[in-house]
Symmetry: C2
Subunit: 200 residues, 2 copies
């Protein structure tokens, strides 16, 4: 996108921090560092200097690649949403299973929900939701609505509300539950709750 010329080819030693010049790799390093920083401190609390230091990159590169702090957050959030919908696709034929998979994913990737929370709190009202996030949401709603038409899901509840309830179930039990025993118990509870919801 930024460099249409094919200056970035597959390189050999990518294990340690390569001192060779590689815009794509630098961009990735910045994005990773920014993800951690934004998840931990939010947009207002994040420090661009810290991100640059953690990425081992110069601060001006951040502005060259992502415009400004908000642009960097957009990139971080969109990347997080994209990887999330790739790893946990919705399955309208097995919503309880989907819920448990979502719960497990949130348990092992806590930074994702934090990013979403920061976005909701710091962005809402100012600008519209990101295109990627909006697309992900509407894709799920449409999938649910289609399943309702096919008789797979109850029509006594709107697709939007149904999705909200499922996501709300997956939100429980995330705090103070790093041990496997409690997580397993909660996973069953979530599945049971969603199953009741699906049965109408």
């Amino acid at each position: 996108m930024a460099t249409p010329t094919a200056t970035t080819k597959v390189r050999e030693g990518e294990t340690a921090k390569a001192k060779k010049r590689d815009a794509e790799a630098t961009k990735r390093r910045i994005l990773d560092a920014a993800t951690a920083e934004f998840a931990a401190h939010g947009i207002a609390g994040a420090r661009v200097d810290r991100i640059a230091a953690a990425a081992g990159a110069n601060k001006s590169l951040i502005y060259a690649y992502f415009g400004n702090k908000d642009g960097l957050f957009d990139a971080v959030f969109d990347a997080a949403v994209t990887s999330h919908i790739d790893q946990v696709p919705i399955d309208v034929d097995d919503l309880p299973g989907y819920a448990t998979r979502l719960y497990d994913h949130r348990l092992s990737h806590p930074e994702l929900m934090r990013l979403a929370d920061w976005d909701r709190l710091e962005r809402d009202g100012i600008g519209a939701k990101s295109d990627v996030a909006q697309a992900a949401q509407s894709h799920k709603v449409k999938a649910l609505a289609r399943a309702q038409k096919e008789g797979k899901l109850p029509t006594t509840i709107t697709a939007e509300a149904l999705l909200e309830f499922v996501l709300a179930f997956c939100q429980t039990g995330l705090t103070l539950a790093p041990d496997t025993r409690a997580a397993t118990a909660h996973r069953k509870r979530i599945a049971a709750g969603v199953a009741q919801l699906v049965e109408g």
Copy 2:
């Protein structure tokens, strides 16, 4: 706490901005302005100057009364939690009713959940939860556990998890639902969901 001397008596004209000196009233104005500011922008995003301006008070008074920015947030959060538990006490004999009352309260007082969210995101891990919030939480858990012992509630789920599920239900339908029709529908859904939960 700050002024143990009884300099604050009941005053007469409290409608408009009283130019008379009244430390208690000033404190209240600062607290109100800070509540709005923190709810809107969080701790890192809040601006002490803005709070002072909105409260019609000098900035140094904030530091005299509340120490620093974090102390001010503590005061705001504790006050919000206190007024919340006063207005929506838990009722273990009618959890669905409690849930709908909680939902309504959150709908009409969105700043409360925002404050709680900011606290969770910006404070968690650094310092322990505020005493007031912790007391409120443990009071509810104990009430639920007592009801379980008395056979009023199912024991197939821990009191902590039960509370989490109820609160999760109340978290749904808060976005994009300012019209009364949708709110009424959601209230019934929440009550039904909690009722199913209570029945085991």
